[in-house]
């Protein structure tokens, strides 16, 4: 069954090497739909395109991979944000993105982001 990249939405066939190596956008988490009698591949792709990661999916990822994350100190990032407030007093920081010089982006809800434009612009000025 086709898979969809959880970050950029690109669709891949079942046997695509990207499912193992990671999507061209760098993400390694994919959405797929279980096979259902009477639903062909075209319908699956259509349905998959509409499907997005929801809070429950993130909770499931945290539940299943949270222990590994604690051990390795790695983080899961499927979105634009490099600072994530999981809960009051709980944060995840994408240090790789921040060190690269990306502006500080915080997601405060589905489809709502805060971008530190002053910081982003001062970085641009310094580079220029």
């Amino acid at each position: 069954m086709p898979h969809k990249c959880a970050r950029c939405g690109k669709i891949y066939d079942d046997d695509s090497p990207e499912l193992i190596d990671g999507c061209s956008c760098g993400a390694r988490v994919f959405l797929y739909l279980k096979e259902k009698p009477g639903r062909n591949e075209e319908d699956t792709v259509k349905e998959l395109k509409l499907r997005e990661m929801v809070a429950d999916d993130f909770k499931r990822l945290d539940r299943e991979f949270g222990i590994d994350l604690k051990r390795t100190g790695r983080t899961i990032h499927l979105d634009l944000e490099n600072l994530q407030q999981i809960d009051k007093g709980r944060y995840r920081i994408d240090i790789k993105s921040l060190m690269k010089g990306d502006p500080l982006i915080m997601k405060v809800g589905e489809g709502v982001y805060y971008i530190d434009i002053i910081d982003a612009m001062s970085k641009g000025r310094k580079k220029g």
Binding site: L69, K70, T72, G73, R74, T75, L83, K88, G89, R90, Y91, R92, I93, D94, I95, K96, L98, M99, K100, L104, D119, K126
Partner: protein, 207 residues
């Protein structure tokens, strides 16, 4: 960037004596502030910041300016910058395990997160970095690898400090194996063991 190196050479040859901004980087509880205090006490007689067993005690960049270090036949003028510990995750429950109330722990988490971002922003301004690691912990972490990789990309001289040599399960060789391309100095910031060797390395490699 090669121009940065060239500019540094011109400054050294023709410019006035440069004040080296020495940044202490590393994960929380690696002993950065203990080391900063040791360096500062040795050369100025004053400490830099407070030390605690609770992670993220340093949540703002602590500075000690105009430290004059004499080692390996050289005289260096440094501004010491003790950075907040860099982490990928900050969780208030960790602080509650050290006896903090929920509210105090949540506030500390907020300040610690801000501190991580501050430390990263300061990367643009440091001249030389001491990357402090706890010798009793596995060095192959995302934090250590990202810090080292980023400093390398910026061509900032790196000295790795394998700290906490005073602890029985210290294994500084694991750090040497993990980062063979860098100078690793084994020290105990707490007891001062081999800190003189570190001054020698700073005199040799800081610019």
């Amino acid at each position: 960037m090669p121009w940065r190196r060239l500019l540094g050479w011109f400054r050294r040859v023709f410019g006035k004596k440069k004040v080296i901004k020495l940044g202490l980087y590393g994960p929380p509880n690696a002993g950065k502030t203990t080391l900063a205090n040791k360096i500062s006490m040795d050369w100025t007689g004053e400490p830099v910041g407070r030390v605690s067993e609770i992670p993220h005690e340093t949540r703002e960049v602590q500075k000690k300016e105009q430290i004059i270090v004499r080692a390996a036949g050289k005289k260096l003028v440094m501004n010491l910058l003790d950075m907040p510990g860099i982490a990928t995750k900050v969780d208030f429950e960790e602080f509650m395990q050290h006896g903090l109330t929920k509210e105090a722990a949540q506030q500390r988490a907020k300040e610690a997160t801000k501190g991580v971002i501050e430390a990263i922003k300061w990367l643009e301004r440091v001249d030389t970095a001491l990357v402090v690691m706890d010798s009793t912990r596995d060095p192959y972490t995302q934090v250590n690898i990202t810090i080292i990789g980023n400093l390398e990309a910026r061509e900032i001289p790196i000295i790795i400090v394998a700290n906490k040599l005073d602890l029985q399960d210290a294994n500084p060789d694991a750090i040497k194996d993990a980062f063979p391309q860098h100078h690793v100095v084994e020290v105990s910031a707490l007891t001062g063991k081999f800190v003189d060797e570190l001054y020698g390395e700073i005199a040799k490699y800081a610019r």
